[in-house]
Symmetry: none
Subunit: 211 residues, 4 copies
């Protein structure tokens, strides 16, 4: 039965990819050698190369897998009929990311930094990563539209802009947590809360510039 064979194939791929991610987090993308991945996977050189054409393919697949996993995690949060208000949603997303990192031992935040860096010089990765983040941003804009529909947010706002602002907060949380640490999802949310309550908060950049 080819079905079992296929399952086995998938299991092997996952085994290699997980080994690769462990290596990547430990050594970085470039400093990780194929022997590193091969040893960590417990397979033979030839076996690994029968599942992936080359190292670039493994990087690509490992990062893509992470993006897909994250996507699965975020879908229920973003595609719900009654999304939480901005602050709550942000927290939910950031906590999901934190939880994901804890779950499998792959620190998604740190893996993301590796991916962003690699995407600078790897067109294929840049492309798949771009697709992922644009979809994420669009989903956030979609939530913003839902907020407008339910009257939580003014209908004159540009939902795209809101999506971009929210994405910036999420990504910035990821960087900050990975590089400095000492940030919790709630910290961000709370800080934002106060910043936004500034009298004449002037959050509209144009006003700021004019003033």
């Amino acid at each position: 039965m080819p079905i079992i064979s296929n399952e086995k194939r998938d299991a092997r791929r996952t085994q290699i990819l997980n080994a690769a991610r462990r290596c990547f987090l430990r050594e970085g993308l470039h400093a990780t050698t194929m022997p590193d991945v091969i040893q960590a996977s417990g397979l033979s050189t030839g076996a690994v190369y029968s599942y992936f054409k080359n190292k670039e393919d493994i990087i690509q697949a490992a990062l893509k897998t992470s993006m897909v996993e994250l996507s699965d995690l975020l879908q229920p949060i973003l595609h719900t009929d009654s999304p939480l208000p901005p602050g709550g949603l942000l927290c939910q997303i950031m906590e999901a990311i934190v939880r994901f990192s804890a779950r499998d031992g792959f620190d998604l935040k740190r893996l993301a930094l590796l991916g962003w860096s690699e995407a600078q010089r790897n067109a294929r990765l840049r492309s798949s990563m771009g697709t992922f983040y644009i979809a994420f941003r669009n989903d956030l804009a979609g939530v913003a539209k839902e907020w407008q529909r339910t009257g939580i947010i003014d209908s004159s706002a540009d939902p795209e802009d809101i999506g971009k602002a929210l994405l910036a907060l999420v990504l910035g949380f990821v960087v900050q947590a990975a590089i400095i640490g000492e940030v919790e999802p709630e910290t961000i949310s709370r800080g934002l809360h106060w910043a936004c309550r500034a009298s004449e908060s002037g959050l509209k950049g144009s006003e700021a510039k004019d003033g």
Copy 2:
């Protein structure tokens, strides 16, 4: 006199560092070879190695230099007697970063991504980078205190939290601009403005969780 003047030495160092940064942006930190840097610098192998002990040293210095330059750029914005309100300040910072990138042809945003990635496995870099970002975050918290002093922000807020939230926005803008593009400082500011005006905005994380 074959003894080179300090100015000339510094000029040479800068020459190498700038060449390195150009290479890094083009090829990434690891894919950049020493011959790449050497050729780009216009010097000889030996000359480059007389200014920097090894490749790691060049990476270190190139990123450190960028941090120092950025720091110089941000100081006047962050250490002023009458800082702009939150939205305006954010815009100012992001625009400074954008302007810096345009100035010398070194896209600071993309260089930052490279640095964050490298910092994962390079303790020395992680240390100097951590110092820089913590100082940045503290400066932002300092501005928050100033806002509290002038009554722009409620005195019950934690300025540290505000610093973290603002830093997240700045870093997130950098990532988003580098990876997806199609974000302007004002976009973020505007999106945030609307998100924050959400009725019962629920930006306080705890409320969000409870809800």
Copy 3:
């Protein structure tokens, strides 16, 4: 089966080591480059490096191998029930060394000089070489004890001292043969014979000093 047999592995190691020894004798230890050894071995760079960690390892192994081979050669001479008297034994040892050098084309005498030099600054080599020579010296002292047992040598003599004197003669023969030439084992033996028959030979150092 790509899994190589132990015999083949050993054959490869020997192949590399013999190539290395040929190079070392031609160029010296340091002036021999890895490409030299690699080409002489007939293998590829990677293959050589899969058998030996680095150049130092090859030096170490090449010299150690020589010591082991020499040891095998000397064992039957030194560990016999009825050793020849001093002069005969010396000749036997020196001739064994000469014969060994002729056998495989590796001039053991010249290789020894290279090793002694390298041992000055290479602790690991110094250690293994020290072990070898101390064992050799002890074996010579052992023969001296046998001589004392059979009455060939006075029982009041210190066998250790005899071992040291004999070792000096052997090593000195090696140096002289390698550096100046025109010495045969018998020459040494004969010269010693006459020198020792000096009336009031005064070979006891203390007497010499007093005189």
Copy 4:
């Protein structure tokens, strides 16, 4: 006055050569770099290169100097009207070498090993070293003739052979002292004394072989 200048030149040369010998003893001939020698000499690169054409020249001169110094030391011992008998002479020579090593901090024994090794692949050095050792051997043979003249040694002996045997002992002492240690001049002398008093000592190699 060119005389002072010449003296200064010689002093400089000595300064460089002494620095070089210190380096050579510490690092070996090849692992010593020109910067090593330059720094140890306290002069500038250019200065050192104005006194010696290249590194090979420094090696050559440093070793030659050592040979000359040793020669000066041995002359009075070897060219005397009433030389000590064999055992005493040997001790005198070995003690002179030991004393020389202690005097200036240049361990002549270890320097000799370095030189022998280098002589394998350096024709010029091999030549000057050969000249030195042949002269030494001839001087020893000369002493043997003197011993024959005064009746200490049988007139039927070949003084050349005696020279070779004595040289072997001296060189062997040097090697043993440098590589293993725990040998004193007297030890050798004493050991030899007992070995030679072997009944039917059979020191004549031919007899040994026949037996």
